[in-house]
Symmetry: C3
Subunit: 212 residues, 3 copies
């Protein structure tokens, strides 16, 4: 069906965009080319892999179909080649990343519902799929994960997955649901970047607290 092809196509754009963010993060830490490929792969498949491990849903997609890994590795290496011109393409790149975020959040929720889990867990897994690739990337690069600090990244995942699940349970046809969720998630993310929207921060600097 056309809708399956479109969502698969967008998902492919999403993992390739995530691979590119991973490769760039590796470059900032001056990793070698193999490190770039590994970070690219982990960023692209990390969120979905964590979701499937948490759900006990085996076999993992990239283990069943190894071509995804090869495409992701290629995207990571391509990123190294085109990095010098990336600064001129940074708006395009942010847009691709925003599509990836929205698609991952929707697909994460969709798959979780298909496996028979509750709508609340579907929303949680939408967030896991959408943001944890980037979290694992930042951990491997020894940084505080950016998504906890910047531009509503995780909130976009939460609201996009929630919108998808809410429409699904209210009988909205899948095709319309996917379109609306995707446009909503993408637009929300781009507006958050454009207008520097952010959530209130919690700043707790009482140093002598020794609870852990």
């Amino acid at each position: 069906m056309l809708e399956v092809k479109v969502i698969s196509f967008l998902w492919l754009i999403g993992i390739l965009a995530e691979a590119m963010t991973g490769a760039l993060a590796a470059g900032k830490k001056q990793m070698d080319l193999f490190g770039v490929v590994i970070i690219g792969c982990v960023t692209a498949i990390g969120g979905g892999t964590l979701r499937d491990i948490l759900l006990g849903n085996y076999p993992l997609i990239w283990i069943e179909n190894v071509h995804y890994l090869i495409a992701i590795a290629a995207a990571s290496l391509l990123t190294v080649m085109i990095a010098p011109v990336m600064r001129h393409l940074s708006k395009l790149f942010l847009a691709i990343d925003a599509i990836g975020l929205a698609v991952f959040s929707i697909i994460g929720a969709q798959k979780t519902l298909m496996l028979g889990f509750s709508p609340e867990i579907a929303i949680v897994m939408g967030v896991v799929t959408g943001v944890f690739g980037g979290v694992i990337r930042d951990i491997l690069c020894n940084q505080v994960p950016l998504i906890f600090k910047k531009e509503l990244y995780a909130l976009v995942a939460l609201l996009t997955a929630s919108a998808y699940v809410a429409m699904k349970f209210n009988g909205v046809p899948e095709w319309i649901n996917l379109s609306i969720s995707l446009v909503f998630g993408f637009s929300f993310r781009m507006l958050a970047i454009r207008y520097k929207w952010s959530m209130p921060k919690f700043d707790y600097q009482y140093q002598s607290d020794n609870a852990h």
Copy 2:
């Protein structure tokens, strides 16, 4: 049975205390509110989740019963609100945290035995359940995990889980076993903090070693 209710109640106190330590750690890194909630959740459920993944024990508790996640998220946000008075409550907080540590260690061992694993693995899983939530929290906040450095945290988990397993295999009734293990773990931890007990440290600073 009363004992089930008591241990469930203490477990709930434990996960809420862990959520609070997670929220405070997030505040030290000036995360936004969503980051606070995610770190709170991961700290509270991370140890038990890692245990169940290692044991292949599905479905995960918080996936079957999503209310735990909602309670943990609420505890994380509550922590943000009461943070200004936390410094006056730090002793109470340390006591709650110590209850959580003891309860998690005991429940981790108990569940592992119920699933039919060996007593040694039950002890290992008691430690995993007791301390790995905090380890994952510290990794996400980009710090060397505190539990490897401070006040016998991990040793308390090890000895508490060992005491529970040893009494279980020597026919001590569950009710008495739970009570003794809990009082032992809690007291040991509070004494370790009070008297600054610590284990010998291994300080290896030979820099030119390039093995990895």
Copy 3:
């Protein structure tokens, strides 16, 4: 069979060597003895554990046979005792570590093939088994994982696993295959250290990029 005994013996050397690298890394962060043991265990079993979780292959080896954990804990503590003389043994130590890397990569690929997965996934899992113990160790010690930066570590794992899988699919008898792969991986790693071979690095320092 003799070949099974030899590979088991080398695997044991491998996990003990990995435990030692973990203990030394913990010592550099001045962890206490319990932290040393935990980091030693995670380094030694982390790669194989991650592989089996990704493959959904339960029960985990060290859960079925807890004696491995005890041996690893002992190796970690032994490392603390012999650390003062380690600088005189650093070449021996690098050689043991290189054996471990080669053996882990081969065993990782071998087990994955035995479970019926594709040759490509067997190679990926050889890399995971060979290097991710060290990656998890570096994350727990709050460092950028060394393997992404130094001396072809990950590339050795990739090529060693690839050699093993290629010979396997070309009918080379297991015994000869294991020997050649092992000698190849070990020699390649030692030469890379000796001649400071390294891969090209990707250095991307364009700071104003705010994609993540």
